[in-house]
């Protein structure tokens, strides 16, 4: 807060920051129509390969549905990794990070703006991928309770982007090391969170550990609501998952505030805010 500034003025400024940062993301996505085409078609191509594999093994509709949902949701994890956690690296490289630090704005507001803008574009991409893959491969779905679905979906996103904010604090200190770490979080997370198969298959212990990633619980919960026949392969009841996602949302939100402050302080002490290419 600036000295002498009231709470409401402070809040208004932060909301303006959030809108401004989200605006850049949304406009950035729409300024080149071909990007939208690529954004939508590329995940469908990858997903189609897995769907053909499932078909070659005579998988039933429930499993195909689990795959369609998981494959569509990959975009969120990639967005959290590269659009949230890794974004501070690129801001540092372009010289924006120092401007953020000089401005009288909260780092959290910038990250919330990034998250909202990223969510908007990724939701569109995910929905198109989901409906297109379901249509092309004749995978039926039936939402049993829209409100439960929305609750699981948005709690998953808030917890997930909170985790992304914690990840972004790492880039205050790390440069390329952070980028490689980000790359390392592709396949292991795809595996542990059950993007391509129900997470229950991994057993309760592994699935329980993987539940620190909100997408694990989110995918399992959404599969239960969208595909009724998954009763024999569910990990936890959807109500429990909603509760856990709520707890994760709070924990990761607090964690993000804490780590951003700690890492910022350390980065300033070590002189890492302005370093490039390291």
């Amino acid at each position: 807060m600036i000295e002498g500034e009231g709470f409401w003025k402070f809040l208004e400024r932060q909301i303006r920051v959030i809108i401004a940062r989200a605006y850049v993301r949304v406009v950035g996505m729409n300024r080149e129509p071909s990007w939208m085409l690529f954004d939508v078609s590329l995940p469908v191509l990858y997903l189609a390969a897995y769907l053909f594999l499932y078909k070659s093994m005579n998988a039933d509709e429930t499993f195909m549905g689990c795959l369609v949902l998981g494959g569509s949701m990959v975009g969120f994890w990639m967005n959290v990794l590269w659009g949230m956690a890794g974004q501070f690296y690129w801001e540092k490289e372009m010289g924006n990070l120092q401007i953020f630090f000089l401005s009288p704005i909260s780092r959290m507001s910038i990250l919330i703006g990034m998250a909202l803008g990223g969510m908007y574009s990724t939701i569109i991409r995910t929905l198109v991928t989901f409906f297109l893959a379901s249509w092309l491969f004749h995978v039926p779905f039936h939402v049993t309770n829209i409100w439960t679905l929305l609750a699981v979906f948005f709690l998953t996103l808030t917890a997930l982007y909170g985790l992304g904010m914690i990840g972004s604090s790492v880039f205050m200190l790390w440069g390329r090391k952070g980028l490689f770490l980000t790359e390392l979080l592709h396949e292991p997370v795809f595996f542990l969170s059950g993007f391509y198969f129900p997470v229950r298959i991994l057993g309760f212990v592994v699935a329980g550990i993987a539940s620190v990633l909100p997408i694990t619980l989110g995918l399992d919960g959404m599969r239960q609501v969208i595909y009724g026949g998954v009763t024999n392969i569910i990990f936890l009841p959807v109500g429990t998952e909603i509760l856990l996602l709520g707890i994760l949302t709070v924990l990761y939100g607090i964690g993000a505030c804490y780590f951003l402050n700690v890492m910022e302080k350390r980065a300033k002490q070590d002189g890492r805010i302005l370093t490039r290419w390291l």
């Binding site: 080149e32 071909s34 990007w35 690529f38 078609s41 590329l42 191509l45 990858y46 189609a48 390969a49 897995y50 053909f52 594999l53 499932y54 078909k55 070659s56 093994m57 005579n58 998988a59 499993f63 690129w90 490289e93 372009m94 440069g175 390329r176 090391k177 490689f180 790359e183 390392l184 592709h186 396949e187 292991p188 795809f190 595996f191 391509y196 198969f197 129900p198 298959i201 991994l202 290419w277």
Partner: protein
């Protein structure tokens, strides 16, 4: 152009690429990093198989799937790594203009600069294949059969990765950063879908199957599978075509692709130079 000059350029560029890729950590951690990714990639396909085949196991399909995924790590990883090199140097490190002005063959530099990514992809494949042989009892190169064919196919695999990679590098000279990224991803996705990496080509609808059957990458995968595994009872679209004939078809495709890549690369290089695109920055 003297061979000595080519070798020196390649060696220097390879050293540079090794430093860029690995000097962020210790060699041990880099080794761990290099093992974890392919390991989890393979675990994904193993568990997909485990989930779907517990009632009706099909060993041939599992071998097809596992070996195809391992080969895909090399083929697609190498290609993906190569096609992004130019953008890295031009946009991120902003060194391309200095490299271009240096007295060395440009394409040899690019070949060396992408060397670590191609080598890493080959390492991923080796890790996956060895793990499959040791822990899953997949009969990969059982009794040493097919090792000569596999070595030949591996070298030809490097050739096709570089040929297709140079085609993409050439095109990316004319494009902005984001377009190059999408182009590379698009090519990888299409090859992943159409080349029979994780499922037999017989699953594809008619037109797509016919198109897939003329792609040199599909021929390479089929040849590599034939070298690594005993004959499988799956229809991958090449039943009745002998291995020597398939090799000939592949070599023809490789020659056409290489000539196209060579011509395109040099044409675009001149065009990019005339248009002043070699040092353009289109934002990270």
């Amino acid at each position: 152009m003297a061979l000595k000059e080519i070798l020196r350029t390649f060696k220097s560029a390879l050293w540079l690429s090794w430093e860029v890729e690995t000097n962020w950590t210790s060699p041990f951690l880099y080794f761990l990093y290099s093992v974890i990714r392919p390991l989890f990639s393979m675990l994904i396909v193993i568990f997909i198989y485990k989930v779907l085949a517990y009632r009706n196991p099909n060993e041939d399909l599992f071998q097809f799937l596992y070996v195809g995924s391992a080969l895909g790590l090399f083929m697609l990883g190498g290609l993906g790594g190569l096609s992004t090199i130019l953008q890295d140097d031009r946009e991120h490190y902003a060194t391309l203009k200095y490299v271009y002005m240096a007295p060395m063959p440009f394409f040899v530099y690019l070949a060396g600069r992408s060397g670590t990514k191609v080598i890493t992809s080959a390492f991923y494949m080796a890790v996956a294949l060895i793990a499959g042989r040791l822990f899953l009892n997949i009969p990969i190169l059982q009794g040493g059969k097919g090792i000569c064919l596999f070595l030949l196919v591996f070298v030809l695999g490097l050739c096709i990765i570089y040929a297709a990679g140079f085609l993409l590098v050439g095109i990316s000279m004319l494009t902005a950063l984001h377009h190059s990224f999408f182009m590379s991803e698009a090519v990888n996705s299409i090859l992943y879908l159409l080349c029979g990496v994780i499922f037999p080509l017989s699953m594809l609808p008619g037109v797509l199957k016919k198109f897939a059957q003329i792609l040199p990458f599909t021929h390479w995968l089929e040849l590599a599978r034939r070298a690594l595994l005993p004959p499988l009872s799956l229809d991958n679209g090449f039943t009745g075509i002998s291995t020597p004939l398939l090799l000939l078809i592949f070599m023809t495709g490789l020659a056409v692709l290489s000539l196209t890549a060579w011509g395109t690369f040099h044409y675009i290089e001149g065009r990019a130079r005339r248009k002043g695109l070699l040092d353009i920055t289109t934002a990270h």
